[in-house]
């Protein structure tokens, strides 16, 4: 984002209107300072518009038209869990509704003492203080929405694995929005800490409770921060399946110490406007980062993924594959940056963005970017935009498949490359069905 110098009054009042809704006195002193700092950053900012390079294709003007109120604590029935909870995480899940912790819906009975799974308020003082310190070193380009989230920060979902802890079962964080009849906004926050040599498998899921309110616009402004200490491994799958009236603005910030492995699987299906900033910062040598993305959109949806991987030290590995399936009048935006400065010798980085356009009005804007100053590196990137091949459909039809079945098979295969990388079976199954219902009609 360009420097936040010019303050447009219109968008500024809009932001301060949102800011005013946050309770002024926070319970925790540690948090207060953090919130105040974030608040002043938001106050001196303006909402980005199409003139900002990073927001060229993602128009926020529709967001400006809405008068969002902070979403209240809401109760949702346990039935909703059937739709979102996974078989593997029945006893290892935490649920947040509108950003507020819901102990009734959560179940962490299968988790042992080496891993803390719960909310920030329930965490011991020492670690709470540590988290606040961590939160203070927020980095990255897209500060505004993250700062807005911090300005209202009261509680957060926390997963904290102690050194050498190995979580044998996946852990699910379920963030539900319970939209009401008026336009609401919620700001879920997730904090994941993987101490030395720990191993975590996490599913972070965003969904909507009940679709009877599916037509009222709502905003989810979410931030997820993940710290991987030396030799830690985190496998993180993020599924976004909000209602089609949702504006979903998200940031995932990952900090990797020496020898750590991070795998991020991003699946985006819902929302009318989806913007995800992924920022990975390498803080030690020999880290490995795998980013997989699958975006399936139709109707008038817009899905925008901006990823930034900054390598700072030698022997880093980055593999990124981002795939988009775009139909109807939807638009997919991808901008992937990989920075390889002089110190990051022996980096091995690949980045590939593949797009499948399924209808004449579907659009794709992509910009894979490499900035390299180190010479002893292997870096490659690529981007393709294509359609279903006539020949391939013909081949399948000559084998007796109906045209729709043939098309579905090909779309399914396109999506499978990402879905197959997810280690949780029931989620894999569910996503495959989801891609099918979304694209074949």
């Amino acid at each position: 984002m360009s420097p936040l110098v010019s303050v447009k009054t219109e968008t500024n009042t809009y932001l301060s209107k949102l800011l005013k809704q946050f309770a002024s006195d926070s319970q925790s002193k540690n948090l207060k300072e953090l919130r105040d700092r974030a608040k002043s950053l938001v106050e001196s900012s303006r909402l980005p518009d199409k003139k900002d390079e990073e927001w060229q294709f993602t128009d926020l003007s529709e967001l400006l038209e809405q008068d969002f109120q902070l979403a209240p604590v809401a109760e949702v029935s346990t039935q909703i869990l059937e739709e979102y909870a996974l078989l593997e995480t029945r006893e290892s899940r935490i649920v947040f509704v509108n950003g507020y912790y819901s102990p009734e819906l959560s179940n962490i009975s299968a988790i042992d003492a080496t891993v803390y799974v719960g909310n920030l308020k329930g965490l011991d003082e020492a670690r709470q203080a540590k988290i606040v310190n961590h939160l203070a070193d927020e980095v990255g380009n897209e500060k505004l929405f993250a700062a807005l989230n911090t300005s209202g920060l009261e509680d957060a979902a926390v997963i904290w694995a102690k050194a050498n802890a190995i979580a044998t079962i996946p852990i699910q964080i379920l963030h539900l929005s319970a939209p009401e009849e008026s336009t609401k906004f919620s700001q879920p926050r997730t904090i994941i800490v993987a101490e030395k040599s720990s191993n975590l498998q996490i599913v972070e899921k965003y969904g909507v409770a009940g679709d009877e309110y599916g037509k009222v616009p709502y905003l989810t402004n979410t931030v997820t921060q993940i710290w991987l200490e030396e030799n830690a491994r985190v496998n993180h799958t993020r599924v976004q399946k909000e209602a089609l009236s949702c504006f979903h603005i998200a940031k995932t910030a990952v900090f990797q110490e020496r020898d750590s492995h991070y795998t991020g699987n991003e699946i985006s299906i819902g929302s009318k406007l989806y913007r995800h900033n992924i920022e990975v910062t390498q803080k030690g040598e020999q880290t490995e980062t795998n980013l997989n993305g699958l975006v399936t959109i139709s109707d008038k949806q817009l899905a925008d993924t901006h990823s930034l991987v900054s390598l700072n030290l030698p022997h880093g590995t980055v593999n990124q594959l981002h795939k988009c399936i775009v139909s109807d009048r939807a638009r997919a935006v991808f901008n992937g940056k990989i920075l390889v400065p002089q110190k990051a010798q022996l980096t091995n980085a690949t980045q590939l963005n593949r797009n499948l356009l399924l209808s004449p009005k579907a659009r794709v804007n992509t910009k894979p970017e490499l900035q390299i100053t180190a010479d002893d590196v292997k870096c490659a990137h690529g981007a393709t935009i294509s359609q279903l091949e006539e020949d391939e459909i013909f081949y399948l039809r000559s084998r007796g498949l109906k045209e729709t079945d043939a098309k579905f098979l090909l779309i399914d295969a396109f999506a499978a490359e990402i879905i197959d990388r997810i280690s949780i079976e029931s989620l894999r199954k569910r996503l495959t069905q989801c891609v099918a219902c979304k694209t074949v009609n």
Partner: protein
């Protein structure tokens, strides 16, 4: 290789860096409406040109310099530039090349571009337009080309003799307010080449323009316009050099190509402006707008560039593919060394059906240079069946050079196909070892590897140019691998 030999070799002198001492007709520094009127009057231009210039100037005043390129330079003082400088002529109008100041003829001879036709007999297939600072010195083989119906002359001459053609096409591809430097050029351009190939004519020889900046305070603002009518075919080359000065000179050119039905234009550039010394002092700012319009069906425009000079290059030769089945091509080698900076690439705008484009870009960065590829591939909503293939490879030599790629891909059509690939690598130890094993010195090995890396592009150049460009590449790189 020892570090001292490396140093010696890096400091290869720029052999075109001499200055020709001649009397010049120079106008005062600075830019305002009066200066523009003065330039227009000096060139005795028709009224519509002055209007064109003033309109561009008004637009330019409202614009700001682009900040998005990945290059850095101190602010340019546009009031400190001399916008017109021409060698003094004894006569009002020269009848033949023999009347040109011998010092200038000698300059071009020294540059390897003999202008007298007898001397060129050995190499008869190239007609040359030689441009010295702000004016065209002369054009060779005019009569021979005239027989075929081809018009090849300086743009000032075209304004006198074919004003209707210039009026019809000038500014149609690059409008006066297109961008900051194009607007500046439209306001003050002094000379350039004009090519018109009539219907059905295949140009009998290669056309070529040689640009030379001589004056240390002058900016060069040339304008080239090439029109190929239905079924016409032409191959055009340009070359450029400048003396070594400590100050930076601005070169802001505009090139417009128009291809009607079934026409074919091939435009090749070997750019070797003075690049500044190893500390980045001096050198040319090469801020150029080049664009081709494939207006007719089945037309084709092909850009080939070898960019080795200039302190800063900012250049995006583009193709607007309007005609159905039209073809755009871009082949580029950009080599930067020392503190050179290049932000170059292309734009392929697909508008018509079944339009095709190919982009092959090879970037080589050595020393402390910055080399960026920036490109746009746009598939319009009506570009059914359009295809693009892009390949951008970078080679890094030394760990202080920078290579970046910024490819923008925009598809608004589900029957179009885009493929983009990019890679970055260095010359491998094992490759050099293999050569050494066969008794080939490291120096020769690097130059062979580089020319192999660039082969796809070099093959696109006309023969004489390809050999020259290959030599230029190895010369520029000598000693940068140690």
């Amino acid at each position: 290789m020892s570090s001292t030999t490396v140093k010696n070799l890096v400091n290869q002198p720029y052999k075109y860096g001499f200055v020709t001492d001649i009397e010049t007709d120079t106008i005062p520094r600075g830019l305002n409406e009066d200066i523009i009127r003065l330039i227009s009057a000096k060139k005795n231009e028709p009224e519509f040109m002055l209007e064109f210039r003033l309109k561009a100037y008004k637009q330019w005043q409202k614009m700001t310099e682009p900040k998005w390129p990945h290059v850095e330079y101190p602010p340019i003082d546009y009031q400190d530039i001399i916008y017109y400088s021409a060698p003094k002529q004894s006569k009002e109008k020269l009848n033949s090349l023999d009347e040109v100041d011998p010092a200038i003829l000698e300059t071009f001879e020294k540059l390897g571009i003999p202008l007298s036709e007898q001397k060129r007999l050995a190499n008869v297939n190239v007609a040359v337009d030689a441009i010295f600072d702000s004016v065209s010195i002369g054009t060779t083989f005019k009569e021979k080309l005239g027989e075929a119906g081809v018009i090849f002359c300086s743009i000032s001459e075209a304004l006198q003799e074919h004003p209707e053609l210039v009026k019809k096409y000038l500014g149609t591809v690059v409008p006066v307010g297109d961008n900051y430097f194009a607007a500046l050029n439209s306001a003050v351009f002094s000379d350039g080449s004009f090519v018109f190939i009539p219907k059905g004519v295949e140009c009998p020889m290669e056309l070529s323009t040689y640009f030379r900046i001589n004056n240390g305070d002058t900016g060069q603002f040339e304008r080239t316009l090439i029109i190929a009518e239905e079924g016409a075919k032409v191959s055009y080359l340009e070359g450029c050099t400048a003396p070594m000065y400590d100050s930076n000179q601005l070169h802001a050119a505009v090139v417009e190509l128009i291809a009607l039905d079934n026409a074919d234009i091939k435009y090749s550039t070997v750019q070797n402006w003075y690049a500044g010394d190893e500390n980045g002092k001096g050198g040319i700012y090469n801020f150029v707008t080049k664009r081709g319009l494939c207006q007719g069906v089945n037309s084709k425009i092909s850009w080939t560039q070898v960019e080795t000079g200039s302190a800063i290059t900012w250049k995006y030769p583009s193709c607007v593919l309007i005609g159905d089945n039209s073809v755009g091509e871009f082949y580029s080698i950009a080599l930067t060394n020392n503190k050179q900076q290049a932000d170059t690439g292309t734009k392929m705008i697909h508008i018509g059906k079944n339009t095709r484009s190919t982009i092959i870009s090879k970037g080589i960065s050595a020393g402390k240079s910055k080399n960026s590829y920036r490109g746009l591939v746009k598939m319009g909503p009506k570009a059914d069946g359009a295809r693009n293939y892009s390949q951008c490879d970078s080679m890094l030599i030394g760990d202080t050079a920078e290579a970046n790629t910024f490819p923008y891909i925009q598809a608004d059509n589900d029957r179009a196909k885009v493929e983009h690939e990019a890679s970055t690598s260095k010359i491998g130890e094992d490759q050099l070892f293999y050569f050494a094993q066969r008794g080939i010195s490291e120096e020769d090995a690097v130059s062979m590897l580089v020319s192999g890396f660039c082969k796809d592009v070099l093959n696109e150049l006309p023969m004489e140019f390809a050999a020259e460009a290959d030599k230029l590449l190895s010369l520029k790189l000598e000693g940068s691998v140690g």
